[in-house]
C-alpha cells in the first residue's frame, strides 16, 4: 500500500488528530481542569486546524480515485471549518450549564460529523459519498437529542434519525440503479456512461432525495422545522450552516462530475425544486412565532437560492454558489449567535416575542441581528446582497429568466418576514418580559465579532474573495 496517498488527506488527518487529542484529554483530565480549560483547548485546537487549512495543499486523487483533493475541495472544507469554529465558540454558555459533564461529547461528535462531511466533499466514488453522508448523519441525531431529558430535543433526535434512515434507504436504492445501469461507482467511469436512460434518471432522482434531505429541499424538508426547533441552539446553527453547506458542495460535485451528461434533465428537475423550495420556505417562515422555527424555514428558502446557483450549470454558477455559502455562513451564524445569547440570558426563551424591545436593552445585539437579517435578505451594502446578486447573475447567464423572476419576488417576501424581527427589536415595546440588559460570554462575543466583520467585509471585498475561489 502506498502511504503517500495519505498526504492528500491532510485535513482529514488533522481533524482526526484534533478529535483524538480532545478524546484523550477528556479521559485523563480532571473534572476541575476540564471545567476550566476544555472549551478553550477545543477552540484553540480547532482554530489552529482552520488556519492550517489555508496553507497550500497538494491536489490529486488517492486510493484509486476514491478520494479526491483539489483546491476547490480544500476551500470548501475551509469554509466548513470556519463555520464549525464559530459554532464551537457559540456553544460555551450552553455547555457550561446542564451539559457540563457531557461537554466533550459535543465536540467529539461534532468533529465526527464534520469528518463525514469532508468525505462527502472529497468523494470520488458514490460509495464513498454514501459513507460520508452516513458518518455525518447518524452522529447528528445524537447532537439533535443532546438535551436528552427535554422532550423536544429527544423528539428532534428521533425524527432526525428516522427521516435520515429513510433518506439513506432511498439513496442506496438510487445508487443500486446507477450501478445496475453502468457497472461502476467511480465518478470518472460514471461521467462517460451516464445517459438519458430511464434507469439512470431514476437513480439520479433517488440520489437527489438523499442529498435533498440534507439540504432540506422541498419535498424532503418536513423534518427541518421540528428538528431545528427541538435541537439545542448551537446544534441548530451547525445543522443550518455546516451540514447544509456540505450537502450543497457535495451536490455540486455530483451534478457536475457524475451527471454532467444529463444536464438538461437535472436542470429541469432543479428548476422546479428551487422554485418550490424558495416559495414554500418563505410561505411558512411568515407564520412562525418561534425564532428557531423561523430560521428553519428561512434556511429552507436559502437552500432554494443555493440551488439556483448550482443549477446554472457553468463555472460562474459554481463560484457564485461557493461564495453564497460563504456569506450565508456569517449571516446565519450571526443570527444564531444572538439567538443563543438571548436564549441563555433569558432562561430559554426562543419566541420572536422575546425580542420585543431588544434594541432598548441590548442595542449591540439588536444591531448585529439586524445586519444579519439584512444580509440574509440581500440588502446592500451587506455581504448577502453581493452573494444574491452573483447567484442571480449566474442564473441570468443560464437564461433562466422565469425562475429568476420567481426568486426576485420571493426576495421581496423574505424581506417582509426578516423585517418582522427588526420591527420586534426596534419598534415593538416589550411589556413585562423584556429581556434585561446582559453581557454574553467572551466566546460568544468573539464569534459575533467574527460574523459581524464577515457580514461587512465579505461583500465589499468580494473581488478578492472571489479570486480566491476561482483559483
Amino acid at each position: 500500500m502506498d502511504f503517500s496517498n495519505f498526504l492528500l488527506m491532510g485535513q482529514e488527518i488533522g481533524l482526526i488528530a484534533v478529535f483524538l487529542i480532545l478524546f484523550i484529554y477528556d479521559i485523563i483530565g480532571s473534572g476541575k481542569s476540564k471545567d476550566r480549560w476544555f472549551h478553550w483547548v477545543a477552540c484553540i485546537e480547532f482554530a489552529i486546524l482552520t488556519v492550517w487549512g489555508f496553507l497550500p495543499k497538494p491536489a490529486g486523487e488517492a486510493f484509486g480515485g476514491m478520494f479526491v483533493s483539489s483546491d476547490l475541495t480544500v476551500l470548501m472544507k475551509n469554509i466548513l471549518n470556519i463555520a464549525t469554529f464559530i459554532v464551537f465558540l457559540q456553544s460555551y454558555s450552553w455547555l457550561k450549564g446542564e451539559n457540563r459533564l457531557r461537554r466533550s461529547e459535543f465536540f467529539t461528535i461534532t468533529l465526527v460529523t464534520l469528518l463525514g462531511m469532508y468525505l462527502m466533499i472529497s468523494a470520488g466514488n458514490l460509495m464513498m459519498l454514501y459513507i460520508g453522508m452516513e458518518t455525518a448523519s447518524l452522529p447528528m441525531a445524537c447532537l439533535a437529542a443532546f438535551n436528552k431529558y427535554r422532550e423536544k430535543s429527544a423528539e428532534a433526535g428521533v425524527k432526525y434519525v428516522l427521516i435520515s434512515a429513510l433518506s439513506s434507504g432511498i439513496m442506496l436504492f438510487g445508487l443500486s440503479f446507477l450501478y445496475g445501469a453502468t457497472g461502476s461507482f467511480y465518478f470518472s467511469d460514471l461521467t462517460s456512461q451516464v445517459a438519458g436512460k430511464p434507469l439512470t434518471i431514476l437513480g439520479f432522482v433517488f440520489l437527489l432525495g438523499g442529498l435533498g434531505f440534507k439540504l432540506s429541499l422541498v419535498p424532503f424538508h418536513l423534518w427541518t422545522a421540528d428538528v431545528y426547533e427541538g435541537a439545542p441552539t448551537s446544534v441548530t446553527a451547525y445543522l443550518s450552516v455546516v451540514s447544509k453547506g456540505a450537502a450543497a458542495f457535495a451536490l455540486i460535485f455530483v451534478l457536475y462530475k457524475v451527471f454532467g451528461g444529463i444536464e438538461a434533465v437535472w436542470q429541469h428537475i432543479l428548476w422546479w425544486l428551487s422554485a418550490i423550495t424558495i416559495t414554500l420556505g418563505n410561505l411558512f417562515a411568515i407564520r412562525q412565532t418561534d425564532i428557531k422555527r423561523f430560521f428553519a424555514f428561512s434556511s429552507i428558502s436559502q437552500a432554494g437560492y443555493i440551488l439556483l446557483g448550482i443549477m446554472a450549470g457553468n463555472a460562474q454558477g459554481m463560484e457564485a454558489t461557493v461564495y453564497y455559502v460563504f456569506v450565508y455562513l456569517f449571516s446565519n451564524l450571526a443570527a444564531f449567535g444572538v439567538i443563543s445569547a438571548v436564549e441563555h440570558a433569558s432562561g430559554g426563551k426562543t419566541s420572536i416575542a422575546a425580542y420585543n424591545g431588544l434594541y432598548g436593552t441590548n442595542p449591540k445585539l439588536a444591531l448585529l441581528m439586524t445586519f444579519a437579517v439584512f444580509s440574509l435578505g440581500g440588502i446592500p451594502p451587506f455581504a448577502g446582497f453581493f452573494s444574491k446578486f452573483l447567484i442571480f447573475m449566474a442564473a441570468g447567464s443560464a437564461e433562466m429568466y422565469v425562475l429568476l423572476f420567481i426568486a426576485l419576488l420571493n426576495t421581496v417576501i423574505s424581506l417582509y418576514y426578516y423585517l418582522l424581527i427588526v420591527k420586534a427589536m426596534f419598534i415593538k415595546k416589550g411589556e413585562s418580559d423584556v429581556v434585561e440588559h446582559f453581557s454574553s460570554d467572551i466566546y460568544n462575543k468573539i464569534s459575533m465579532l467574527i460574523c459581524f466583520l464577515g457580514i461587512l467585509t465579505a461583500g465589499i471585498l468580494w473581488g478578492c474573495i472571489f479570486r480566491a475561489i476561482i483559483k
Binding site: 425524527k159 434518471i201 419535498p219 410561505l283
Partner: protein, 637 residues
C-alpha cells in the same frame, strides 16, 4: 511608490477613529489627532510629489503615468469591472500636494476657529472624510472610481455645509448643494455609461492613450438628435463637472453653501471640491480635444459667461463670504475657459497648463481669503460689511495677509495670480478675441470687487467698536496658517509650471507675453484704483452710482433672480408635470402590485399550513411520494 496608498488610508482611518470614538475624547484631543494625521498625510504627499517630479516621474522627456496600486474591486463581466487604484501623473500629484496643504492649513486653523463649538469631534471626523474623498477622487485610475469618490465628496460636503444643523438656513443650504450637484451628477453618470458602453473600459489610461483613438474609433459615427454620441457622452460628463465647479446655471448652490463654517468654505469652496469639475475635464482632456471638440468650445463659452456673470454679482454683494463665493465661481470659470480654448501638444497646449496653474495658485490665495474672512468674522461676529471697517488697526496679521491675497487675485506682479492669469489670457489671446476681451474685463472687475472688499473690511472710515466687543487679532492657530498661505500666495507663481504640466506630458517653455501682461496689469491697477477712490474712505458715492444704475444694480444684487427661476422651474415644471404622475404611478400601480403580492402570500401561507403536521410518518410519506412524483414527472413528461 506604494506608500502613496497611505495618503488615502490615513484620512479614512482618522474618519473612522474620530467618528466612532470621537465622543469619548476631549474635543482638543480629537482636533490634535485629526491635525497630526493630516500633517502626516501632507508629508507623505510631498514625498510623493518630490519623488515623482524629481526622480521617477520622467521617462525620457515625457511625464509618465504611474500606477503604483491597482486592484480589481468588483468584477461583473469581462469588460465591466470596477478597479480601485492610484494613478500618479503630473496633475494628480500636484492636486495631492494642494489638497493636503490646504486641508492641513484648515485643520490647524479650525483648532482656533471652531474652539468650543459643540460637535467639534464630528467636525474633524467630517473633515477627514472629506479629505479622503477628495484625495481618492484625484488619484482615481478610472472614471468609475472617480465617480464613487465624486459622490463621497458630495456627501461629505453636504454634512459639512450643514454642520450647524440646528440652523434652518444651514440645513436648506446643505440640501440645496447636495440636490443641485446630485442633479448634475445624473448627467455625469449617464455620460459615463454611454462612454464606457461604447469603449468597453473605464480606465483613464486606455481612454486617453494615443490621442484618444479608442474613443474616436469606438463610437463609429453613432448620432443622437444631430450630435454624435461621443459629443453627448462628453457633454453629459461635463455637466457633472459643471455642477461641482458651479458653472452657470448650476452655480446656485455655492453662494448658499457659505452657511457652513468658514474654514469649510476655505477647504471645499476654494481649493478642492469646486475644482473637481476642472480636474475632471483636465483628466479627460485628450478625449475632449480629439473626440468632441464641440464640447470644448461649449466649455469655453459657458466658462466665459460664468466668469463675467459671477464677477458682476460679486460687486454688489455685502456679505463678505458671498463676495468670495462669487469670486470663486468667477475664478473657476477662468480655469474652465483655459481648458476650453486650449489646443493639444507643446506650446499650443498653453491653455491646459494655464488652467492647472491657475488652479494651483488660486487654491492658495482663495483659501487665504476665506481663512482671512473667517478671522474677521471671528473678531466682529458678523458677515456683513456694514459691521466692519477700520480693522487694520486691530488685526495686523489678517490685514497684511488679506491684502497679499487681494493683490494675488487682482493679478498684480509678482504675486502668484498674475502669472497664472496671464497665461490664461495669453492662451485666449490669439484665437478667441471675444473670450479674451471678456476675460480681460472680468480681470478688472475682479480687482475692483476684491479691493472694495478689502477696503470695506480694513479701512473705510473710523468705525469704532464698543469696549467689550473690541476686535482682536486671532490666536496663533489661526494666524499661522494665514502666514503660510500668504507665503504660498506670493511665491507659487514663480514655479516654471510648463516644465511640469502640459497637455501631452512633454515639458515646454513659456515666456511672458508682454502685450497681454501689460494689458492685464493695466486693467488690474485700474480696478484697484477705482476701488481706492470709492471705498478707501467712507462716502456716498458708491450708493449714488448704484442708484444711477437702477434696475441693473438690483438685478445683480438679487443674483439675476436665478434662484427664483430655478425655484419656478422645479416647482411648476418638475413637480407638477413630472413628479406628480410618477407619484400617482407609484401609489397605485407599484404599491398595488406589492399589496397584491402580500395578499397572495398571506392567503397561500394559510392554505399550506397543514403540510407541517408534526407527524413523522406523514413526513416520510411526503418524502417518498415526492421522490416518486419527481421520477414520474421526469420520465413521462
Amino acid at each position: 511608490m506604494e506608500y502613496s496608498l497611505f495618503i488615502l488610508i490615513a484620512p479614512f482611518f482618522l474618519f473612522l477613529v474620530l467618528g466612532l470614538l470621537g465622543m469619548k475624547m476631549q474635543p482638543k484631543v480629537a482636533g490634535i489627532i485629526g491635525t497630526a494625521g493630516m500633517g502626516l498625510c501632507a508629508i507623505c504627499a510631498y514625498a510623493v510629489a518630490y519623488q515623482y517630479f524629481f526622480q521617477t516621474g520622467k521617462a525620457g522627456e515625457e511625464w509618465q503615468q504611474l500606477i503604483p496600486v491597482n486592484f480589481e474591486w468588483l468584477r461583473f463581466t469581462e469588460y465591466l469591472h470596477i478597479d480601485l487604484g492610484i494613478l500618479l501623473d503630473p496633475i494628480s500629484v500636484m492636486m495631492l500636494a494642494v489638497i493636503t496643504t490646504v486641508s492641513l492649513m484648515v485643520h490647524i486653523y479650525s483648532l482656533g476657529y471652531m474652539h468650543g463649538e459643540t460637535g467639534f469631534q464630528r467636525y474633524y471626523a467630517l473633515l477627514s472624510l472629506f479629505s479622503f474623498s477628495m484625495l481618492g477622487l484625484v488619484v482615481a485610475t478610472n472614471i468609475f472610481q472617480m465617480y464613487i469618490f465624486w459622490e463621497l465628496v458630495g456627501v461629505s460636503s453636504y454634512s459639512l455645509i450643514g454642520f450647524y444643523y440646528t440652523k434652518p438656513s444651514a440645513v436648506s443650504a446643505s440640501k440645496k448643494a447636495f440636490i443641485v450637484t446630485r442633479f448634475a451628477d445624473l448627467g455625469f453618470l449617464i455620460g459615463i455609461l454611454i462612454l464606457s458602453y461604447y469603449t468597453k473600459t473605464f480606465d483613464f489610461g486606455t481612454l486617453t492613450a494615443n490621442h484618444a483613438e479608442l474613443v474616436t474609433n469606438s463610437f463609429a459615427g453613432g448620432t443622437f438628435m444631430g450630435l454624435s454620441l461621443a459629443t453627448w457622452a462628453l457633454a453629459l460628463i461635463f455637466m457633472g463637472g459643471a455642477g461641482k465647479s458651479a458653472m452657470f446655471p448650476l452655480h446656485i448652490w455655492l453662494p448658499d453653501a457659505m452657511e457652513g463654517p468658514t474654514p469649510v468654505s476655505a477647504l471645499i469652496h476654494a481649493a478642492t471640491m469646486v475644482v473637481a469639475g476642472v480636474f475632471l475635464v483636465a483628466r479627460l482632456f485628450p478625449v475632449y480635444f480629439f473626440a468632441a471638440p464641440d464640447v470644448l468650445t461649449l466649455i469655453a463659452y459657458v466658462g466665459t459667461f460664468t466668469a463675467l456673470f459671477a464677477a458682476i454679482i460679486a460687486i454688489t454683494q455685502t456679505d463678505i463670504k458671498r463676495v468670495l463665493a462669487f469670486s470663486t465661481i468667477s475664478q473657476i470659470a477662468y480655469m474652465m475657459v483655459a481648458l476650453g480654448v486650449s489646443d493639444y501638444g507643446g506650446h499650443d497646449g498653453l491653455g491646459y497648463m494655464a488652467s492647472m496653474f491657475h488652479l494651483f495658485t488660486h487654491a492658495f490665495f482663495k483659501a487665504l481669503l476665506f481663512l482671512g474672512a473667517g478671522s474677521v468674522i471671528h473678531a466682529v461676529h458678523s458677515n456683513e460689511m456694514s459691521q466692519m471697517g477700520n480693522l487694520r488697526k486691530y488685526m495686523p496679521v489678517t490685514n497684511i495677509t488679506f491684502a497679499i491675497a487681494c493683490l494675488a487675485i487682482a493679478g498684480i506682479p509678482p504675486f502668484s495670480g498674475f502669472f497664472s492669469k496671464d497665461e490664461i489670457l495669453a492662451a485666449a489671446f490669439h484665437n478667441h478675441p471675444l473670450i479674451f476681451w471678456t476675460l480681460w474685463a472680468v480681470a478688472g472687475l475682479t480687482a475692483f470687487y476684491m479691493w472694495r472688499l478689502y477696503y470695506c473690511i480694513f479701512w473705510n472710515g473710523n468705525k469704532t467698536y464698543s469696549e467689550h466687543h473690541k476686535p482682536h487679532e486671532s490666536p496663533w492657530t489661526m494666524a499661522v496658517p494665514l502666514i503660510i498661505l500668504a507665503v504660498f500666495s506670493v511665491f507659487s507663481g514663480l514655479i516654471p509650471f510648463a516644465g511640469f504640466i502640459s497637455s501631452d506630458n512633454m515639458p515646454f517653455h513659456t515666456h511672458i507675453d508682454w502685450l497681454v501682461a501689460s494689458l492685464s496689469i493695466g486693467i488690474g491697477v485700474t480696478g484697484i484704483a477705482v476701488a481706492t477712490v470709492l471705498y478707501l474712505r467712507k462716502s456716498n458715492r458708491p450708493a449714488e452710482i448704484a442708484q444711477s444704475l437702477g434696475g441693473l444694480y438690483r438685478a445683480a444684487l438679487h443674483k439675476f433672480y436665478l434662484d427664483e427661476i430655478w425655484m419656478w422651474f422645479t416647482q411648476t415644471v418638475i413637480f407638477k408635470y413630472i413628479c406628480m404622475p410618477i407619484a400617482w404611478f407609484d401609489r397605485h400601480i407599484i404599491d398595488g402590485a406589492m399589496n397584491g403580492l402580500a395578499w397572495t402570500t398571506q392567503k397561500s401561507a394559510d392554505s399550506v399550513k397543514g403540510l407541517q403536521s408534526g407527524q413523522v410518518q406523514f413526513y416520510a410519506w411526503v418524502f417518498v411520494a415526492g421522490s416518486v412524483l419527481i421520477a414520474v414527472l421526469v420520465l413521462f413528461l
